[in-house]
């Protein structure tokens, strides 16, 4: 019951936060957004004109011009043009949340569509795969490393964790990508330098899947290298501070083995804190993850954004920014829910 209340409360708070964050985004992109909408209106109007001319051959030029003008003003009206700011804001936000993101200037989805929404749908899954796998890997391995370091606090292994954390905090993710490409792809020729699939793959699901994994390895490894040290360091600090609590002494007095104590009692107790830290880690590594896509030419949203920046394809940039806000938000929300699930004080409604 307590958990349900927590869940509802958090969901409301998060939905409001998402709305606020997107509003903020809206204010930041307002001038560009108006330009993009007008551009989309022009695009749609000329499309309408072409169809009109094709289907109604008997129309005079003024008639066509009038029909097109009406079409365009209706289109703009749907986005709140010529209306008071609050209405305009409301309509444009609504269109954003309905994923009416307009059409790209130049970029195209693999199926030829120029709709930003289609472009995003085409590129989004690759980002999700890379980012989720990477985060899970970092959280799992980072937690284990942090625990082992805390277990041997003061030992050689423990002392290496802060060093790794220092290095991690001083190196941009994309540069690690460069180094790995130079070594694994061009020096050793073990792994591909980028992309998501090879041209010459044998038919069948399995060869395609292994080819995909083969391409995933380096980007994933880069993400892992830049994120794992910092996360392990955080886990280590949390575990060390948990080890100082009274229940650890009493648990040892009860004749518990160290392994059981650390991996069951301490880890479980520190896990809400670890969940919180995972949230921050996710938020922090997000930017790095999208630049890795650029380095590895991994066809995800980061790569799409980069391509859009190169040719100033504004609609695509606004679209990806919006979608990335939602993805980050979902990551944070999942972390929060996990936190509530892990902490019995919340589960029992205290």
């Amino acid at each position: 019951m307590g958990y349900a209340r927590f869940l509802i409360g958090k969901t409301i708070s998060y939905v409001l936060a998402l709305f606020a964050a997107v509003s903020l985004l809206y204010v930041g992109i307002y001038p560009s957004l108006q330009r993009v909408i007008e551009g989309s209106a022009d695009e749609a109007a000329s499309e309408f004109q072409r169809n009109l001319v094709k289907s109604h051959t008997g129309l005079t030029l003024p008639q066509i011009a009038a029909a097109v003008a009406t079409f365009k003003s209706n289109y703009l009206a749907a986005f709140g043009f010529n209306q008071p700011y609050p209405v305009k804001f409301g309509l444009q936000m609504l269109n954003l949340f309905e994923f009416h993101l307009g059409s790209a200037y130049n970029l195209q989805a693999p199926d030829g569509s120029k709709q930003v929404a289609d472009l995003i749908i085409a590129y989004l899954p690759n980002t999700v795969v890379l980012f989720t796998t990477g985060t899970l890997l970092v959280v799992a391995v980072g937690a284990i490393l942090g625990l082992l370091a805390a277990k041997s606090a003061g030992g050689k292994f423990d002392k290496s964790i802060p060093i790794i954390a220092v290095i991690h905090s001083s190196i941009p993710a994309f540069w690690i990508g460069f180094l790995l490409i130079a070594y694994f792809a061009y020096t050793l020729n073990w792994l591909p330098s980028g992309g998501i699939s090879s041209i010459d793959v044998a038919a069948g699901v399995l060869p395609h899947f292994t080819d995909f994994l083969w391409h995933l390895t380096l980007p994933l490894l880069s993400f892992f290298i830049v994120s794992v040290g910092g996360f392990a360091y955080v886990v280590r600090s949390l575990v060390i501070s948990t080890m100082g609590e009274d229940f650890v002494t009493t648990a040892r007095a009860r004749g518990m083995t160290d392994r059981r104590l650390i991996f069951k009692h301490v880890l479980r107790t520190a896990s809400p804190g670890i969940a919180t830290q995972s949230i921050l880690a996710v938020a922090g590594s997000f930017g790095g993850a999208i630049t890795l896509e650029v380095v590895f030419r991994w066809p995800g949203l980061g790569f799409l954004t980069f391509a859009a920046i190169q040719i100033s394809d504004l609609p695509v940039i606004l679209g990806t920014t919006f979608i990335l806000t939602i993805i980050l938000f979902l990551g944070l929300y999942i972390g929060e829910i996990a936190y509530g699930f892990l902490d019995p004080r919340i589960k029992t409604g205290d």
């Binding site: 009274d246 229940f247 002494t249 648990a251 007095a253 004749g255 083995t257 059981r260 107790t269 029992t348």
Partner: protein, 312 residues
Amino acid sequence: MTSLLEAKGLKIYYATPRGDVRAAEEVDLQVGSQEIVGLAGESGSGKSTLALGMMRLITSPGRIAGGEVLFEGTDILTIPEERFRKDYRWSKMAMVFQGSMNGFTPVFTIGAQIDEVMKIHGRDGGELAVRKLLQMVDLDDSIARRYPHELSGGQKQRAFIAMALALEPKMLFADEPTTALDVVTQVSVINLLKRLKNDMGISILFITHDLALLSEVVDTAYIMYAGRVVETGPADVVFNRPRHPYSQGLLAATPTLQSREIKGIPGFMPDLARPSDMCSFSARCQFVMDRCTVERPGLKRTDGEDVACWLY
């Protein structure tokens, strides 16, 4: 009377950059079977360290620097760790802590933790066994399904005692088991401990800084100061006619019904990292003599008890 637990010349040191802090120095202590022994002293006098030492729970930078601890005649300091963990810790000697309020792991239910302690020592455990234990300490069955934070301080302490009894130990260390509890709950916990001794034949080492409380329960009393035992004897002797100036001060510092005024002992405990030959209490003692600052007094039997003071 043969003793169940006996410490002989036990030394526990903590390594610090300034040198070893001698938290317990040459401590001799005996607990007979089915006896409640009290151990009193100010905070920092080494009494909790002593209990942890006898449970072999001293962790780095602390260490047991010497002496022996006999349990039923066996020196338990020489047993391999794994065997000690399996055969002695909690199964023969359990402990209720100063911090037992926080003694439960916060993320598991009370029942699960009591059950776990039985399972890791090869007992059956199970819901029934947990319920029986909770009944033994006058707690409702439903407590088993609760998380620690849902319990009151008194309930937590009782639940912890229930967990301490899970393996039917012969020896129970009770380290300030009533601190931070209200008076009514304190009394009920004390009565519970007495009942355990009488009904189950458990020996208890009761550690506290509250002499008034101690006088209610114990058969034999030990007074510790600066890591050493300074006075020991039957409870009635120690509490009614304390000899050592420190014991007298400690007793005077205890509020009674007659006077609510608390008299503290002026001064501070000596630096335990700087051992010296003088009596540790000499700097605070109102009866200090020349001899006290040159030579340390040993425990000497006088009038049915042992005192370490040059006055006797």
